[in-house]
């Protein structure tokens, strides 16, 4: 876990003072609405439908238990006692008072947190693999690299007024769990035949109203050049990205318009001047970043304990379900990562109460070295649980309502806050999620369906990543009425694809029925053990379309 030194602490403290000054001037009428807007956004403050919303950064999804307790405390004192984890691993407060925000930021700074650049047309919070540092298939732990990128991008003087927001995701594993192909910049850490670390740089991916899959800018960047190369990539975007139309201002539009060859040529031309410059990384600097992410002092787990765990799986069906879906293999034998489901009908996907935050912080202290990770699927992870403690943890999670054994299934819905909260939304999304969870709650049916990503966005800004859901649902507005467009076949992992729209949109109350019909086609058409996505890719859109729109 990264720990601030005096430099980091001073910077966030000075940032709080700066924002307090800006808020004071705004409230005193000395700073206009329009001028205040980018300033508040770059401190995470949105003006929402009912109240302001504050988005708190959780860099690459890593939280310490003391930070989570402080977040719980903040939600009680300044909000309504709950928070919402987002698809970008951040936490949103839905009901803070605008004038309290400087105080909230000061509280965050006390626990080495902030809301810097969680919104606005700047480089946003860098996201990563929730299993970073523990995954079986990892080549390089992305967290030290994310931290170096976080520092490079934080209060970057040149890139605070980009044409549009800019999101970077990093993976260091064989399997991409960070959706790098649908980010403005996606980075993959890999090793060449000589064992040297290289970075594959992708650019121009993104969702929103014009979803695009990123293209490769550079296959094999030596790690020393990561920051100078990023600087070149962003500088070209800053200078040439469109500024006349905010819907065409993302880097994906620039990359598309120029073509990847021309974008690459410009980046390389720029980089030729920056290469080997003062932001070139060296081993000592990387080692210093890596020292913040040491291996925890894991105790040895006896072979017999591992055998007991496996036996329990065969004996206890409920436990087996939990382990199959919510427990992930670990690079260290005897350890597992446990995903805490934040998907229950009673709450919006990703919502957690203050009491639950406190309880999770306690669980992290007792079971997993006091650390918690936030996933882009809007769940939480305890990354280092010895197998002989998983049953006890499971029992405690059951009591908390976080043991829903449905991670990765249809029920593990990704969902934006939607029209209930967001002023951009065309339609509500949370009630759709709840209606679907209600309809498809039979566990045997869910498991029979296998891995299925169902993602819901309340508008085409696509915060719920509907384009890359195996089933995607998009709220649309037609003459003031809410309708829902359904697409299928999206995917955010290595074999990335964008969903295809089934056809005309549906009334809200018909959505569960339509999803059910889609599932019926899959169940009828699938080959043995074939996943939804594979069946779709084999048979195409037509059978689904025919069934759904059958007269």
């Amino acid at each position: 876990m990264y720990r601030y030194d005096i430099h980091d602490q001073t910077l966030v403290d000075e940032r709080v003072a700066q924002f307090r000054d800006q808020m004071d001037r705004y409230l005193a009428g000395r700073l206009g609405e329009e001028e205040f807007r980018p300033l508040r956004l770059q401190n995470g403050l949105y003006i929402q439908r009912h109240a302001p919303m504050l988005r708190i950064a959780i860099p690459y999804g890593m939280l310490a238990s003391y930070q989570l307790r402080s977040l719980a405390d903040i939600t009680r004192r300044y909000d309504r006692g709950y928070g919402h984890f987002t698809t970008r691993q951040n936490l949103q407060l839905n009901w803070p008072a605008q004038e309290d925000v400087p105080d909230i930021l000061a509280e965050l700074a006390k626990v080495q947190m902030h809301a810097i650049q969680t919104s606005g047309n700047c480089i946003r919070n860098t996201t990563s693999d929730q299993f970073a540092g523990i995954a079986n298939d990892e080549v390089e732990d992305p967290r030290p690299w994310c931290e170096l990128i976080r520092q490079w991008s934080t209060l970057h003087p040149e890139f605070a007024y980009l044409p549009r927001k800019f999101k970077i995701a990093v993976t260091g594993a064989a399997k991409d769990r960070a959706a790098i192909q649908v980010h403005d910049i996606g980075l993959r850490l890999w090793r060449n035949e000589e064992g040297e670390l290289r970075v594959k740089v992708l650019a121009g991916g993104g969702l929103g109203r014009t979803p695009m899959i990123a293209e490769v800018v550079r296959e094999d960047l030596p790690w020393q050049h990561l920051l100078t190369y990023l600087e070149a990539c962003v500088r070209v975007y800053n200078q040439f990205g469109r500024r006349d139309n905010k819907f065409k201002a993302r880097i994906k539009i620039l990359v598309k318009a120029l073509g990847i060859e021309e974008y690459r040529r410009r980046v390389d031309e720029e980089w030729a001047h920056l290469k080997d410059g003062p932001q070139t990384l060296n081993q000592a600097a990387v080692d210093a970043a890596k020292r913040h992410f040491p291996e925890p002092e894991r105790r040895p787990v006896a072979e017999s304990a591992i055998a007991d765990f496996e036996r329990l799986r065969t004996e206890n069906r409920s436990f087996a379900r939990f382990v199959t879906n919510n427990v992930t293999d670990h690079k260290v034998p005897g350890y597992k990562a446990v995903t805490l489901s934040l998907k229950r009908r009673e709450h919006a996907p990703g919502d957690v109460t203050a009491d639950q935050m406190d309880a999770v912080a306690d669980l992290a202290d007792r079971y997993s070295f006091s650390e918690i990770r936030v996933t882009h699927e809007q769940n939480l992870v305890l990354s280092d649980v010895p197998v002989d403690e998983i049953e006890a943890l499971w029992n405690e999670l059951e009591a908390l309502g976080m043991a829903n054994p449905t991670v990765g299934t249809l029920n593990d819905i990704i969902c934006c806050p939607g029209g209930d909260y967001c002023s951009l939304a065309n339609a509500v999304s949370i009630p759709i999620a709840q209606a679907l969870q209600e309809r498809f709650e039979d566990l045997d049916f869910l498991y029979d369906l296998g891995p299925l990503d169902l993602n819901i966005s309340g508008c085409m800004n696509a915060c719920g990543h509907h384009h890359v859901g195996h089933i995607g649902i998009l709220g649309v507005d037609k003459k003031g009425e809410e309708f829902y467009q359904i697409s299928i076949g999206g995917n955010s992992t290595d074999d990335v694809s964008l969903g295809k729209i089934l056809g005309p949109s549906f009334f809200r109350q018909d959505v569960p029925e339509v999803v059910e019909k889609v599932l019926q086609v899959y169940v009828a058409e699938r080959h043995e053990d074939e996943h939804f996505l594979d069946t779709y890719r084999r048979i195409g859109l037509k059978p689904f379309k025919e069934r759904v729109y059958a007269k």
Binding site: H7, Q22, E35, Q151, L155, L227, I253
Partner: protein
């Protein structure tokens, strides 16, 4: 070309040339601001001294009371930089405070082309941008008329810490940490 051009609005042209009172120069409030900024690409203003659009300046180089105004869409080539390098002052336009191209232009002028004269921010220049502008190499900022100069002085140096290298700081924090701590 997907990039949009920085064209002055009719309103701006109607008020042309622009003159603002408050100028921050090398960290202090200047006693006066003699220069006006003219956005008219075709005609020279009557007032002097004046920043005028690049092409107009190029056509009137003999007039020493003129200096070039770089619009935010200017492509700063090595040839152009060589032409600018001997000049005492260059202005970079912020058509809107949300147009961040000027930051890159200033850095390129300073860092790549080692321009040593005055780099002045003109146009939609707000007090809350000054810290970033300074770090990108602007040493002169002509404040938009409604901005308070006392705010500008207070906010010009809002941070004592920076992670990146910039025009003022040639060592990244990751580099400086290696020598100061441990």
């Amino acid at each position: 070309m997907p990039n949009n051009v920085d064209t002055p609005t009719e309103e701006a042209l109607a008020n042309n040339p622009v003159h603002v009172d408050h100028l921050l120069l090398d960290g202090e409030l200047a006693a006066e601001n003699a220069w006006c900024v003219s956005y008219d690409a075709a005609n020279l203003p009557e007032q002097r001294p004046a920043f005028v659009p690049l092409a107009l300046w190029q056509a009137n180089k003999q007039d020493e009371e003129l200096a070039p105004l770089l619009l935010s869409d200017t492509e700063l080539t090595a040839e152009l930089a060589a032409e600018l390098n001997p000049l005492p002052a260059v202005a970079i336009d912020f058509p809107s405070f949300t147009d961040g191209r000027g930051y890159s232009l200033a850095r390129l002028l300073r860092e790549r082309f080692e321009y040593a004269g005055e780099v002045r921010a003109v146009g939609d220049v707000l007090v809350d941008q000054l810290d970033y502008m300074r770090r990108c190499g602007f040493n002169a900022m002509a404040l938009r008329d409604d901005q308070h100069p006392e705010d500008a002085l207070r906010l010009l140096n809002s941070f004592s810490v920076r992670y990146q290298t910039d025009v003022e700081e040639r060592r990244a924090l990751f580099e400086r940490r290696l020598t100061t701590s441990e």
